[in-house]
Symmetry: C2
Subunit: 138 residues, 2 copies
DNA sequence: GTCGCTGCAAAGTATTTGCATAGCC
DNA sequence: GGCTATGCAAATACTTTGCAGCGAC
């Protein structure tokens, strides 16, 4: 949690209980949680925590490099405390999102973007299908 | 447009003017249009075309394999008449989405999904950053 | 004490649903 | 003529914004 405090101070912000609690919750929850899930997880200890604050705080974490956005193809945006490059699998039936290993190399796609004159900053690879449980019952 | 008629009939559906017009509009518009943009483009010839119909029809196109969904990382869902495997670049500033060539190989990611017990059906690769125009003025 | 953060309320945007009617087959 | 697709209206889901008070520093 020291990384949070350092990053906030470096940016000239304030270390509030909400921010500490939300980062703890995001990390504890495992991955790919929605804003509402993070709020629920942190709500045990800070019940009147509001959703706008959750969104603002998650945006801050992204700005600070402590989280990344993952979109699971529609539905709510997911927030992921794991910031290293990795890929995701989303189930089109139950909506679950899981990590995929190993990460696939996105260098060709970024290079293609650069050749076209754009300035790539990051990439996201999403495999869609039926997860193990949904495939079994289908 | 014959592919549309065939696919609809094979599925036991009806070839309506809305469906024909919407597929034309989606193809004519170029790529990655939102539901609203498709409606605007088709609205010239069928002004009272409703947005729920547009959504239902675009879903049908996807079911028939005549379009795919592209999410540009937040904001509205984009619909793409180009169904072959290819990647996208989305500008985080202006929101534009463009195709990237060549496509990157997603075999490793799909294989990873399969090893984990899931049933992959498709994949989406999105590079995010600043597009050429936005990078220039930044 | 100051200024940034929070909570509340409300607005905004995107998409889906229910139902009566119209029109394709 | 039957049954599906359409259009309308409203509901839902998610996220953002404006603003007054609180609290970290």
């Amino acid at each position: 949690m020291d990384d949070l405090k350092q990053a906030i101070r470096a940016r000239g912000g304030r270390v509030t209980p909400q921010r500490v609690l939300l980062l703890e919750a995001l990390r504890r929850l495992g991955r790919h949680s929605t804003a509402e899930e993070v709020r629920a997880a942190a709500g045990d200890r800070l019940p009147q925590l509001s959703l706008p604050t959750v969104y603002a705080t998650l945006d801050l974490f992204i700005e600070l490099g402590l989280a990344r956005r993952v979109n699971a193809g529609g539905g709510a945006i997911r927030y992921d405390p794991r910031v290293e490059q990795h890929d995701h699998f989303a189930c089109r039936n139950c909506g679950n999102v899981v990590d995929l290993e190993p990460a696939i190399d996105d260098t060709p796609a970024r290079a293609a973007a650069r050749v076209a004159g754009h300035r790539p900053e990051g990439s996201e690879i999403l495999v869609v299908g039926l997860c193990r449980d949904c495939a079994r019952s289908a």
